[in-house]
């Protein structure tokens, strides 16, 4: 049994709310990459949300309720993996939410210890053979939660360097927030607009025709602004490119291109 687990761990895929509704292709890309890395992938059908909106809003009671639900759904897997740094980052915040509840805190800690953002999991925990090709010059935006909460930085670049035909062109300020920030972008639209425009300028100056990242919220913000301003940059989640699932429309793009 132990051998099976080590060779083929059971991974619970956390299907983030945005991915589930807006971009199923990221979920299938993640599943494909995980399977290629030897994992047995399951998608708990009862999962809803990690509670990030409540946590970020400072609503600790609501966040705790969501956390209990998610811990119960995922704690029996060998790993929790998700194609989002901010959702996994939230799972890593669970233990602190249960500072006054030792029983739940230890369950939260146990889950946090085996909860990984997809791209870092595929480098730091499992190895995956990348067989994709992509014709284009891409620039990578380091989404804040993945970068600063989970240390996701070199892993996506390492994986992308194996994609045939893909040239990576770093932009200035790749580590600066794109102005999404969850509800921030709708509460303070003017400031968000300024921030995303600064980001678009960096993207343009990099000369890239493709924008990649690891968190769909940020990608939807930048893709939406790119479309609004008429820029022709294509936007994908990194997992889609790594899995070679880039035949359809990119994020926000019209069909039958």
């Amino acid at each position: 049994m132990a051998d099976t687990t080590a060779a083929h761990p059971r991974v619970g895929l956390l299907a983030t709310c945005l991915m589930n509704v807006f971009r199923p292709n990221i979920g299938f890309s993640a599943a494909e990459l995980l399977e290629r890395a030897g994992c047995r992938v399951e998608v708990p059908g009862s999962q809803t949300c990690c509670g990030q909106p409540a946590y970020s809003a400072g609503d600790d009671d609501a966040a705790r309720a969501m956390a209990r639900q998610l811990i119960a759904q995922f704690e029996d897997y060998d790993y929790l993996v998700s194609p989002s740094g901010s959702c996994v980052g939230t799972v890593h915040k669970y233990p602190a939410l249960f500072a006054d509840d030792p029983a739940w805190q230890s369950r939260a800690q146990a889950l946090a210890d085996k909860a990984y953002e997809l791209l870092s999991f595929l480098v730091d925990v499992r190895q995956v053979d990348i067989q994709a090709s992509y014709a284009g010059k891409a620039t990578y935006h380091d989404s804040c939660s993945g970068l600063r909460q989970l240390g996701v930085k070199r892993q996506p670049r390492e994986l992308l360097s194996k994609v045939e035909g893909l040239e990576l062109a770093e932009m200035d300020d790749a580590e600066v927030c794109c102005g999404f920030g969850g509800s921030f972008c709708v509460k303070y639209p003017q400031i968000s607009e300024k921030m995303v425009d600064d980001k678009l300028r960096s993207i343009a100056e990099s000369g890239a025709d493709t924008l990649l990242g690891g968190d769909l919220g940020c990608l939807m913000n930048m893709a939406g602004r790119l479309r609004r301003t008429g820029a022709k940059v294509r936007v994908w989640h990194t997992a889609e490119v790594l899995a070679g699932r880039t035949d359809g429309p990119a994020i926000g793009e019209e069909e039958s291109r």
């Binding site: 299907a15 709310c17 589930n20 509704v21 807006f22 971009r23 990221i26 599943a31 047995r40 399951e42 998608v43 059908g45 009862s46 999962q47 809803t48 949300c49 509670g51 909106p53 409540a54 970020s56 809003a57 400072g58 609503d59 609501a62 969501m66 804040c144 939660s145 970068l147 600063r148 909460q149 580590e175 927030c177 102005g179 999404f180 920030g181 921030f184 972008c185 709708v186 509460k187 303070y188 639209p189 003017q190 400031i191 968000s192 300024k194 921030m195 995303v196 600064d198 939807m220 913000n221 893709a223 939406g224 602004r225 479309r227 609004r228 429309p249 994020i251 926000g252 019209e254 039958s256």
Partner: protein
């Protein structure tokens, strides 16, 4: 300083529409960030220094009363006077009294954020003193009658052209200068004579050393030195949290401060003052006073935000904050802008009055990652939101929406149904276009950007349909 009129939103809107300010911010933004990164990279063990500094601060704060007593006793033994002020009004009164007794006419000032915090200049000017700010940035905004917009670069919101205009208006008889060097020279010339007239010199205190009774200021202009040595009385204004035990500890903080603030290895002037002029000293002030301001700090120490008292006022958090970079410091409405201000201002001036500050943040964590004393700024900003909720300050509409969402998210079947419905409606509306340029109820999103539409049925539905494990 009084809070600026308007709301964060209204001040931010003005800031975004101000071309001069945007030009100034665009020039400043990359400068501090790049210089800090280079300075930090050149010093081995910077990360370890941050850890050490945070530990020193935490140790002092855990027995702050003891260290303050030791510090005060040492200062008194050197012939200085220590005054404890419980709030801003008391601090102002203490300083007015010192100025009265010194029979002052002209008061020179080095840069001090505590002085801004307690609103000192206004009362001294009302008393009829000639009050002169001698830090170049502070001098500029004093002439412009504006509050500071940054804690170490108070006039960072001003362009060179605006400074040239100001100097031309305020220095009659001098030709207009347009170069930076020319403007600096002009200010130096104007300030030089003031230093010689100064009766009381008021400075801040970057650090206070308990072991030696020493106050330290770091500047790049030397104005602080002239302020405190040429005046008859020297008054140090400082928060009670600025005391550290020893000169060895100081060396840790000095290595962090300049690199974090301006990206320099060290500032041009680091000045240590221990008491008044002693018999036989060639110069120095005849009186030496330290005004230690509490103003809510001891309350902070006892609560969830005690780590804020580690702050050494370097400005790195605002230099790296993309929201500060977009709107500048005045949008934050008071003395302390940016991430540190988004925590301090509600604590000093009220959670309700400053509701926007902790909310106008994307929680991106860049401030926290550069803080030299490792204050978990992002976590504290989130904690501040929690305090606002506990105080019943979250707007009712948002509270209702959060509660409804929270309830639905705990009913997986219902949540699924909403996701399905949402996906279907958005796809219908978008057709084959791939995104939506408008959407009822989502105007705040679509005002700025298109909304990428769902590319098909939900992932979980498709996964099940394909027979995937669940």
């Amino acid at each position: 300083m009084k809070a600026l009129p308007g709301t964060f939103d209204s001040r931010a809107a003005v800031a975004l529409a101000d071309p001069s300010l945007q030009k100034a911010l665009k020039n400043f933004k990359p400068l501090f960030v790049a210089k800090r990164a280079a300075a930090v990279a050149e010093l081995d063990g910077f990360e370890q220094l941050r850890e050490t500094a945070a530990a020193i601060k935490d140790a002092v704060l855990s027995e702050l009363d003891v260290w303050l007593e030791r510090y005060a006793a040492k200062v008194e033994s050197l012939g200085g006077h220590v005054h404890f002020a419980s709030d801003a009004a008391e601090a102002r009164e203490i300083i007015r009294e010192i100025c009265r007794k010194a029979d002052a006419k002209t008061i020179c000032k080095g840069k001090s954020m505590v002085s801004e915090e307690i609103g000192l200049n206004e009362v001294l000017e009302d008393d009829g003193y000639k009050v002169v700010e001698t830090d170049l940035g502070e001098y500029i905004i004093q002439l412009a009658k504006e509050p500071p917009s940054h804690i170490i670069a108070p006039a960072i919101h001003k362009t060179r052209e605006q400074v040239a205009d100001l100097f031309e208006q305020n220095h009659p008889g001098r030709p207009r200068e347009d170069s930076v060097a020319g403007l600096v020279n002009e200010a130096r010339h104007a300030l030089r004579e003031r230093f010689f007239q100064s009766d009381v010199g008021i400075t801040g205190g970057n650090f206070l050393i308990a072991e030696t009774g020493t106050s330290i200021i770091v500047t790049n202009e030397g104005n602080g030195d002239l302020t405190q040595t040429l005046s008859r009385a020297h008054v140090v204004t400082s928060g009670i949290e600025r005391v550290i035990p020893t000169l060895d500890d100081l060396s840790v903080f000095l290595r962090l401060l300049a690199r974090s603030a301006t990206g320099q290895d060290t500032e041009c002037y680091t000045t240590l003052s221990s008491g008044p002029k002693r018999p036989g000293d060639p110069d120095g002030p005849e009186e030496y006073h330290v005004v230690l301001v509490d103003n809510g700090r001891s309350k902070m120490l006892a609560g969830r935000f005690s780590q804020m008292l580690r702050c050494i006022r370097c400005g790195a958090c605002m230099n790296h904050c993309p929201v500060y970079g977009a709107v500048g410091g005045h949008a934050y409405g008071w003395v302390y802008p940016g991430p540190m201000g988004s925590i301090l201002t509600p604590l000093f001036n009220g959670l309700a009055e400053n509701y926007d500050l902790p909310n106008a943040c994307t929680l991106n964590g860049r401030c926290q990652s550069v803080c030299p004393v490792k204050i978990p700024l992002t976590d504290l900003i989130r904690t501040m939101r929690n305090e606002q909720i506990k105080a019943g300050l979250m707007p009712a509409s948002q509270r209702r929406m959060m509660a409804a969402w929270g309830w639905v998210a705990r009913q997986p079947g219902l949540y699924r149904a909403f996701e399905k419905l949402g996906s279907k409606m958005l796809r219908l509306r978008a057709g084959r276009s791939g995104s939506l340029s408008s959407l009822p109820g989502a105007g705040a999103w679509t005002r700025v950007r298109d909304l990428p539409a769902p590319s098909g049925p939900t992932f979980i539905d498709q996964w099940k349909a394909k027979g995937g494990q669940s």
